[in-house]
């Protein structure tokens, strides 16, 4: 008889990385549905196309790096990156925009760093920021809520056959930025008159929140990052709003506008580029939330999830050095990079 010779433990929880990643993809479905409902088929087309591009890029580069292609594709990480980027892109994005963004995310931000687990930055956000800086007009146009284009129009937009401006309008974040400080003007804007935030956007964010709660329930993610993220965003908003309601939007508006929920539950929780210890993750996400509020309020861009996440990706190793947990039998935690 030939006996298996393996180190302990000899049993495992029977999960694998692919399963974890699939759970993340499933959890985005409510959000995707809400996007399609509010803004037309564009987001779905983006996501599907992004997945296809990602898989092809991943396969090509795995092959070029001499890695077993099928084995690595099974970890579903490329799919997750593609889905997240596809969700973040405007529903009016033409195919080539997605191609460039996803291609850059997979090839440069992930594979060139050594593949899954080795990338210091969130690949989807790298792709997003690349596009945002290179094609600012295409990236900041968004369909006005409740004005979803017909499927045929969405397809035409996707293929680059129709002019985007025919369908686009200002987002609630844009609008607030434009009229901030003028209470009367703000009060007159329909787009800011949702139950929680702007109409349409609150639905999308609620859907992503739902998906995020599913991830929490399945223990795919832990509570530290989403809670700290949202707290970091909401607390300064609350304080500032108390001081001057006309100049500063309220916490609910911030939480349910733009990419807040997508960022809190799906983007910032990417474990590869986040901090590792529990306390570290809390600080990491708290600072992301704070930075989003700062950029939204004082910066040049209407939304800031991508920038904030990338800046904190940079700081994650540093945060890790100072947030080692206190190990059993030690009176205090070790701090710093080196002994």
């Amino acid at each position: 008889m030939s006996l298996i010779n393996a180190p302990s433990p000899h049993t495992s929880r029977h999960t694998d990385t692919g399963a974890v990643m699939r759970q993340v993809v499933y959890a985005t479905l409510p959000g995707l549905a809400a996007l399609v409902w509010q803004f037309g088929l564009g987001s779905l087309l983006n996501v599907l196309w992004a997945v296809l591009v990602a898989l092809v890029c991943e396969a090509l580069f795995l092959r070029a790096r001499g890695k077993p292609v099928a084995f690595y594709l099974k970890d579903w990480s490329a799919v997750v990156t593609a889905v997240l980027l596809g969700l973040a892109l405007p529903p009016t994005a033409p195919w080539w925009l997605t191609l460039i963004g996803v291609g850059f995310a997979i090839v440069v931000a992930k594979q060139l760093y050594g593949g899954l687990g080795m990338n210091p930055f969130n690949p989807a956000m790298i792709g997003y920021v690349l596009l945002l800086i290179s094609f600012p007009v295409a990236m900041t146009q968004w369909i006005a809520p409740g004005d979803a284009p017909a499927p045929a129009d969405s397809l035409a937009l996707f293929l680059g056959q129709a002019p985007a401006d025919a369908f686009t309008g200002a987002t609630p974040l844009d609008t607030f930025r434009t009229w901030a400080g003028d209470a009367e003007a703000l009060a007159g804007r329909d787009i800011l008159a949702g139950e929680l935030a702007g109409p349409g956007w609150e639905a999308v964010n609620l859907a992503f929140l739902l998906g995020g709660l599913y991830l929490l329930a399945r223990r795919i993610i832990t509570w530290q990052i989403p809670v700290a993220f949202l707290a970091g965003l909401a607390l300064p908003a609350l304080i500032a709003h108390q001081v001057d309601a006309a100049r500063f939007a309220g916490p609910l508006f911030h939480l349910f506008s733009g990419g807040a929920m997508l960022g809190a539950f799906f983007i910032a929780t990417d474990p590869v580029s986040a901090a590792t210890s529990r306390l570290g993750r809390f600080i990491y996400a708290l600072l992301i939330g704070l930075l989003i509020w700062v950029i939204r309020t004082f910066g040049g861009y209407p939304d800031a999830v991508a920038f904030a996440v990338l800046l904190l990706n940079l700081s994650a190793p540093f945060i890790d050095y100072y947030t080692q947990p206190r190990a059993y039998g030690h009176r205090k935690a070790n701090k710093g990079a080196n002994p």
């Binding site: 008889m1 006996l3 298996i4 010779n5 393996a6 180190p7 302990s8 433990p9 000899h10 049993t11 495992s12 929880r13 999960t15 694998d16 990385t17 399963a19 974890v20 084995f71 970890d75 990480s77 593949g115 899954l116 687990g117 080795m118 832990t222 474990p271 590869v272 986040a274 590792t276 210890s277 529990r278 993750r281 890790d320 080692q324 947990p325 206190r326 190990a327 059993y328 039998g329 030690h330 009176r331 070790n334 990079a337 080196n338 002994p339």
Partner: protein, 830 residues
């Protein structure tokens, strides 16, 4: 510390009173316990051979006291404990020792180790047993010795000898004795069945442990998945002070550190043992073994082992003789060899795979899992770590396993240690949950091994460097001393040379002085005569003449003294053409010095006889000259001794004494003018010691060489008898010479020691002892301080520090006393 009341505690009355604490992390693997805990403990197989490794326990392997062919009885000791941490080994049944040699044993790396192989005779005849009905009558000392001789070791996992664990110092107070009945690993039910069936015996064992450790509380920690065992223990403990604490099922609650945290909220400080925080843990099976050893007089011969897994037809618990090959046990349980895919000794979380089923069951083998490849399949290939942190969520030691993994993988051991890798208990919870199937524990074992090796090498390198530096310093010192001696010699030679060139002038001066003396004395005599005449004539000027005669006498004496001085100081006539060797120079110097001394003595005697004023002065001068002569003599002897061996061995080596230039007294009589110990004498003795040592070493070496040469010649048988006889004679002579040197050396050392005694009132040995004692007291105090640095308050540390300072001063003083005593006597510290 949080006190978590679990659902179980809320539901089970009685459990509520005792708060249990929680430990971070942990996992809940499928239990698989009902596979093996449904049937009572059954007897194990009766194998054809028992293979008994000498290191079934943790610590030094036992020392065999039987030889191949010995017939032994059941319970007879086969190997005795060797060293402080060790346990005895006994024959599990009667039979014959058929082999004593290496066999594959229960080791993760599948290595071989020394085993005693016993062939049972089937009679199972007992040796004499000595049950102790009342252990309190025996006393702790004898009881501990009994446990040691009975081979009782921890049956839970590590196999630490129980006699060591219960033998705490008087100063160590045990607050809690914890009986570990958790059995948190899946599959294993050995303790579960043992508790259900032998709870009374276990409680008796616990009472013996209580007697030895005298704990404030005794707690049994048991998981809530063993309700029958809990009930049995409750019944058995009904009228004792043993408290049963039920803990929620979670792996690894049964880890020693985790159980301590669960039951007491204490954490064992990193790098120490539980006893340091007042806790002693014993496995429930060990308590049973203790009872058997004491009350029944039965040493540890067998243990309850779970045999489980879907490749055996009759899973269950078996009371297995130690040394039973796993293959026999599996056959006994009805193994299906074709289905067997993975064979694990221990549990599925921390056990290790066996590749050879012939390895024996030992004291720590609590479980054998014979699983099919479907039940415990081949691990899937390792995927990339996505730093998901699932491992950190389950780590009971609160580490960051994913960080440790990166550091281990990139050989960044410094950072791994900074992240407390050494506190990892290798429970496997992290690898159990890892979605990327990374064998994390294996990475940690690798890194730990590397760190241990590196630390050991670092220590070794440090020691080598220290040795090298010490040697370098010694060589430099010796070089400097050599140089100083060379300078001194040159200086002496130069002076001598000058004296020699001056001696021509000296001769003339001497003649002039002689003349002067002659004139002075004749003037004196004339004056005396004149004075006498005057006195006889009673002339007026008689007194005047007398005075004049006196003054003339003084004048004459002065001249005489000057002549004597000149004679004494003037070196003898210039040397004959100098012998080239320094030896010749020295010889000459000795000759000169001794004749000068003799002259001086004569002059002094003369002066004394005449009762001249300068007699005392002359005497002193003579003494000085004698000292000088002695010094030169000693130098000559040393030089000769050092040079002696270089001379052809055919020339009989002169003993150190027969350099005899001074005929009047033996050379080494210590009647030096200065009886007080002074530096000069010390230096002299040191020089002599060194010279003698070199001489002895050389002589001894020559003797050895000659001896070897003779033996060679005898073996070759080519030389004639005469030649051999001559060689023998030579050897004898060389031996005599070496012995002589040795004796002289010994005498000198003894004398020096006696002087030390006379001088300091203490002999050398006492001085050395004092120094060593002070040194070790200092070390102990420093250790204590180090140990208590983290745990004590500032006041205690302050006291300790001042004590340390005092000890340091004392040590310095004793060291100094020793050094001074030794140096004063010219001894060289070896």
């Amino acid at each position: 510390m949080r006190a978590n009341l679990t659902l179980f505690q809320r539901l089970v009355p009685g459990a509520r009173r005792a708060p249990t604490y929680d430990f971070p992390g942990g996992v809940h693997p499928a239990e698989h316990k009902s596979v093996s805990n449904q049937t009572p403990i059954a007897p194990g197989p009766r194998p054809a051979q028992l293979v008994l490794p000498l290191n079934m326990h943790l610590g030094a392997p036992a020392r065999p006291i039987v030889t191949v062919g010995d017939r032994v009885l059941k319970g007879q000791m086969l190997a005795e404990p060797a060293g402080a941490v060790s346990a005895a080994l006994h024959a599990p049944t009667s039979g014959t020792v058929v082999a004593l040699g290496p066999r594959p044993i229960q080791h993760p790396s599948g290595m071989d180790a020394l085993c005693i192989v016993l062939e049972p005779d089937g009679e199972d005849r007992w040796a004499e047993r000595r049950p102790v009905a009342d252990h309190t009558r025996l006393g702790p000392g004898k009881l501990i010795a009994l446990l040691r001789d009975a081979g009782v070791a921890g049956l839970g996992g590590a196999g630490f000898p129980t006699s060591v664990k219960v033998n705490l110092g008087d100063h160590q107070r045990v607050e809690q004795l914890i009986i570990n009945a958790v059995e948190c690993e899946p599959y294993i039910t050995a303790d579960d069945r043992l508790m259900r069936e032998r709870a009374d015996e276990i409680v008796l064992g616990i009472q013996i442990l209580q007697y030895l450790l005298n704990p404030h509380d005794t707690l049994i920690g048991i998981e809530d998945n063993k309700p029958d065992a809990i009930a049995a223990l409750r019944a058995a403990c009904a009228d004792s002070d043993v408290e049963i604490r039920v803990v929620p099922t979670k792996y690894p609650s049964g880890g020693e550190k985790q159980l301590i945290q669960l039951l007491t909220g204490k954490e064992v400080p990193s790098g120490s043992i539980p006893a340091q925080c007042g806790v002693v843990c014993q496995n429930v099976g060990t308590a049973w073994a203790v009872k058997r050893a004491v009350h029944d007089g039965e040493p540890l011969l067998s243990r309850v082992t779970t045999v489980t897994g879907d490749a055996v037809a009759r899973p269950g618990n078996y009371e297995v003789w130690l040394g039973t090959p796993v293959a026999d046990l599996l056959r006994h349980a009805g193994v299906d060899k074709d289905r067997l895919g993975r064979l694990v000794m221990g549990g599925p979380m921390m056990g290790f795979t066996l590749h050879d089923p012939s390895v024996p069951v030992v004291k720590t083998s609590n479980c054998i899992i014979a699983a099919s490849a479907e039940e415990l399949p081949e691990p899937p290939p390792e995927q990339a770590c996505i730093r998901c942190g699932a491992c950190a969520e389950v780590c009971p030691a609160n580490l960051l396993p994913q960080q440790l993994y990166w550091y281990a993988k990139t050989d960044d051991f410094e950072r791994a240690q900074h992240h407390n890798l050494m506190d990892c208990i290798e429970c496997g919870a992290c690898a159990y949950v890892c979605p990327s199937h990374i064998p994390l524990v294996q990475y940690y074992r690798y890194a730990k091994g590397e760190i241990r090796t590196q630390t050991a090498e670092q220590i070794k390198a440090d020691r080598a460097r220290e040795r090298f530096e010490a040697r370098q310093a010694r060589l430099e010192r010796e070089q400097a001393e050599k140089e100083a001696r060379r300078r001194a010699r040159l200086e002496a030679n130069r002076k001598k040379q000058e004296a020699a060139t001056e001696s021509g002038a000296g001769d003339e001066k001497l003649a002039a002085l002689k003349k002067e003396v002659g004139q002075a004395s004749s003037a004196y005599k004339a004056a005396v005569k004149a004075a006498k005449t005057a006195e006889a004539q009673e002339a007026d000027n008689a007194a005047e003449l007398r005075a004049r005669a006196d003054s003339l006498k003084a004048e004459a004496d002065r001249a005489k003294a000057a002549l004597r001085d000149a004679k004494a100081t003037a070196p003898a006539p210039a040397a004959a053409p100098a012998e080239s060797s320094a030896l010749a120079d020295l010889k000459k110097a000795v000759g000169e010095a001794s004749s000068a001394y003799k002259a001086a003595v004569k002059a002094a005697k003369h002066a004394e006889a005449e009762e001249t004023d300068d007699a005392a002065e002359l005497r002193a001068r003579a003494d000085q000259l004698k000292a000088e002569a002695d010094r030169l003599k000693a130098e000559l002897r040393d030089a000769k001794a050092a040079q002696g061996p270089a001379a052809p061995p055919a020339a009989p080596a002169p003993s150190t004494q027969d350099s005899g230039t001074s005929p009047e007294k033996p050379a080494d009589t210590p009647s030096v003018a200065n009886t007080a110990v002074d530096e000069q004498a010390a230096g002299k003795r040191q020089k002599r010691l060194k010279g003698l040592k070199t001489a002895y070493n050389m002589a001894h070496k020559q003797y050895k060489e000659a001896h070897a040469a003779v033996e060679r010649a005898e073996r070759a048988g080519q030389d004639s008898d005469e030649a051999l006889a001559a060689m023998h004679a030579k050897v004898e002579k060389l031996k005599a010479k070496a012995d002589h040197c040795r004796d002289a050396l010994d005498a000198l050392v003894e004398q020096a020691k006696a002087d030390i005694l006379a001088h300091t009132g203490k002999d050398l040995k006492t001085l050395k002892l004092d120094a060593a004692r002070a040194e070790s007291a200092l070390r102990d105090k420093a250790d204590e301080l180090e140990r208590r640095r983290d745990t004590s308050d500032a006041d205690t540390l302050e006291t300790l520090n001042s004590e340390l300072d005092a000890l340091q001063e004392h040590a310095q003083l004793t060291r100094l006393a020793l050094k001074t005593a030794v140096e004063e006597q010219g001894l060289v510290e070896e």
